[in-house]
């Protein structure tokens, strides 16, 4: 069958466009002939494509580059670290975020990457205008390189500088919705706000960030030296409240960065009396990062398997379904095939016709399924993207076009269409075309 199929493809090139037009025209009439059954087939295929696409889209949104996390593909992440007594072989350990000391000595000191930013785990702050409005917001405390690693859309003003960050000047970047809520306008640069009752100056206003940008999302951003957060550390000053994002020049540098980070880790451990820090395989690339739960070993393999299993099950049922439908459609046309064979049509020609017919059907279904899946992703946004980690945050899990529309996804959907088409149509078609003429004529 595959031979016939490839033969068909090879021939495709030599055929003139009129032929192809004719084939499609024929296929189109066939589909119109059996309106209901075509509709059922299209919906069935579209549904399968939609389901798979939604799964892929949900994963895609969390992994691929999108504003402001435009460099996800060349970023490495340190979500958490672990510490235990030197030489401890039991799995007893203390797990959590790192202190500013570790972040600086073990990661900020890296020379291979392009930039390293230190970011607090985030929390809530009270923001208010003196004798004016007040609200609770999600905040991140970070440094100036944050604005290099992530690319924010500044509506007004600019980020705080290295000097601001070093000396912990009370400067704040706020999101557009916060600015609008407090001042009624996004032109808030230079105004004074109170964060937990301390005065800060607004230096920049950025477009709202979706909660799906897990590493950079907040509603206000301030230098970490402007609060007392750096003092919150324990266990030999190693554990604390910070995370690190490393921006490499390119993906190829990942091994070199990991190697250098390992050297710095050992150097840091040499300076510790009784304890030692370790990373459980971090820094992570993006895929591992989203599947890492803070204190545990990575379970990326399980995640892969999980996705594979779900996709196989979701594929199996519609595949059986479509085969059964195509089979009954073929049975109906058995006599037609018999007549045509009697008049000298080769198996190849018949097969090609069936193939085109199904290709057309699957293409239509593919387009419908894609539309469905985008609709589902937007409509079911809350259910698909909210989880217990981001649910406590105040902002929105808004989706933007650049998160969803990428050539990769179109290609994946197309290949999937073709696969379904081959599975469901060509086998019965091939069998039908091989059938004895008399059998076919007698509808046996």
């Amino acid at each position: 069958m595959m031979n016939d199929f490839f033969f068909g493809i090879k021939e495709f090139g030599s055929m003139n466009t009129n032929m192809i037009k004719l084939y499609f025209k024929q296929a189109f009439y066939q589909l119109r002939e059996n309106r209901l059954i075509s509709l059922v087939s299209i919906i069935g295929t579209a549904l399968a494509i939609c389901m798979i696409m939604v799964i892929v889209l949900v994963l895609e949104v969390r992994i691929t580059d999108c504003v402001p996390e435009v460099n996800r593909s060349r970023s490495l992440y340190m979500k958490a670290m672990s510490i235990h007594q030197k030489g401890d072989t039991s799995d007893r350990s203390s797990n959590g975020c790192m202190s500013l000391t570790v972040a600086k000595e073990c990661f900020k000191a890296l020379t291979v990457p392009e930039a390293v930013t230190i970011v607090s785990t985030g929390g809530r702050m009270r923001i208010s205008v003196p004798a004016g409005k007040m609200m609770t917001v999600d905040n991140l405390e970070t440094d100036d390189t944050f604005w290099k690693v992530f690319s924010f859309d500044f509506i007004a003003g600019k980020p705080f500088t290295a000097a601001d960050s070093e000396s912990g000047l009370p400067k704040v970047v706020i999101s557009a919705s916060v600015a609008r809520n407090l001042f009624g306008t996004v032109e808030a640069v230079g105004r004074t706000v109170q964060l937990n009752l301390a005065d800060y100056t607004v230096v920049g206003v950025v477009k709202d960030v979706s909660k799906l940008a897990v590493s950079s999302y907040a509603q206000i951003w301030i230098p970490f030296h402007s609060t007392e957060i750096a003092g919150k550390c324990w266990y030999d000053n190693a554990m604390g409240t910070f995370r690190v994002v490393i921006l490499a020049h390119s993906e190829k540098d990942f091994p070199a960065i990991r190697e250098e980070a390992e050297r710095l880790r050992q150097k840091f451990n040499d300076g510790l009396q009784d304890s030692e820090i370790f990373y459980r395989g971090q820094p992570d690339d993006r895929f591992s990062f989203i599947f890492r739960h803070w204190g545990r070993e990575l379970q990326a393999k399980e995640a892969y398997l999980h996705y594979l299993l779900v996709i196989v099950i979701l594929l199996l049922v519609p595949a059986i379904n479509l085969s059964s439908m195509t089979l009954s459609r073929m049975r109906k046309r058995m006599s037609e095939i018999g007549v045509r064979k009697a008049f000298g049509a080769t198996a190849n020609v018949l097969l090609r016709q069936v193939f085109y017919e199904n290709l057309l059907l699957t293409l239509i279904a593919g387009a419908v399924g894609m539309l469905f899946s985008y609709a589902c992703t937007f409509l079911l946004n809350d259910f698909l993207f909210s989880n217990s980690e981001n649910r406590t945050q105040i902002g929105e899990t808004s989706l933007s076009a650049d998160m969803l529309f990428s050539p990769w996804i179109f290609l994946a959907a197309f290949i999937f269409c073709l696969l379904l088409n081959l599975l469901s149509a060509c086998i019965p078609a091939w069998r039908a075309s091989r059938m004895n003429i008399t059998d076919a004529l007698n509808q046996r």
């Binding site: 937990n196 009752l197 609060t227 979701l314 379904n321 089979l327 009954s328 459609r329 217990s388």
Partner: protein
Amino acid sequence: MKQIWNERRSNAFLWMELFVVFVILWYIVDVVYVTLSIYNLPMGFDIENTYVLRFERMTSKAAAYQPGRTMKEDVADLHEIVNRLAHRSDVEAVSLSQNCIPYNDGANSFSFYLDTVPVRSLKRWITPEYFNVFRYRNIDGSGSESLAEALTPSGMVLSVNIADVYQDAPWHGKELLGRRVPVWRNEPEAEHLSIAALTEPVRYDHFTAPDDYGSRYAAVYLTDEEMESLGETVYIEVCLRVREGQNDGFIDRLIVEADRQYQVGNLYLLDITPLSDIRAAYETDSVNELNTQFCIIFFLLLNIFLGIIGTFWFRTQHRRAEIALRMALGSTRWGICGRLMGEGVLLLLISAIPAWVVAWNLGYAELVEVTRMPFTAGRFAITVLGTFILIAGMIVIGIGYPARRAMSIKPAEALHEE
């Protein structure tokens, strides 16, 4: 039956699909059944119209900061704030607690001894008003007021099921009332608390089974000294219940007055959140999982529907002559329709029987959800029957339409076509 055999070629696909779908669908229906039956059990408390507030200490960077105040003074300030909140006309009750609001993302543990048997449970570290805020219920039917009176530094309140999982414990349920038990250590010089009241069981969230660890608790009085030892007032939750009918716009009303009324000493209002939001956040993952299961059920059923309608459409068209002949010979429409549907349901039955065997074995091998509910014959019967009805429903709809179309034809016309 004979007809099914005659059409075996196309029926084989349908049979295979029905078999595969039956097993998958049963598995999911089973999980959903377990989840839903647990979800609908009583919770033992009520979070409607309740809020949690957090008060933080300002830093030296704030203009109003008063240097040199101790934690003891901060706790006194917090009590003053609670006092002012409790005197609002729209507030019913205000309580203080540590790490134990409902649906909290974390909890303390507690243990005491019944004779020699250690009993472990959640620790509800609270002031007495907590029972009124969340409307816990005394097992004697007297509501929450009696519980608030019972909780003292020397008397604790337990959920009535606290010792149920400990078979060796000398006392269970109501027998616990009034006993004095050692706390943390089973030694004569250990701290002893008396069991002052028992409440109905309180579940941790809607997805926690009643015999789970999270469904047993011991409530212990949170004293001022203990609050001071926490070091930060932000670790202490201030929970309040708003009076019936006054809930609308409560947050806005409170925030307007926050700086004037509820900023005492170095403490200021950091945040106010309705407990319903905290519940939604805590249960998000479980709810999403349930929704996913519903989606898969929907997807599978729709596929069966399409498969059935696709297969039977051609079959009924194919057999128009037969149908017409039957009608000409006096069969009623309903008779024929019933015959076709009977055929579909019989096909389902043939594929369902091996599927039942697979399903029973899956259940027997405990490959299904058994941590929250044991796998029993009753549960198997309900879920298998539910699955059967779901699929049969799809088959009836799927066959009904093509059958009606086929029957609307005049017998003579169809026979003429022959």
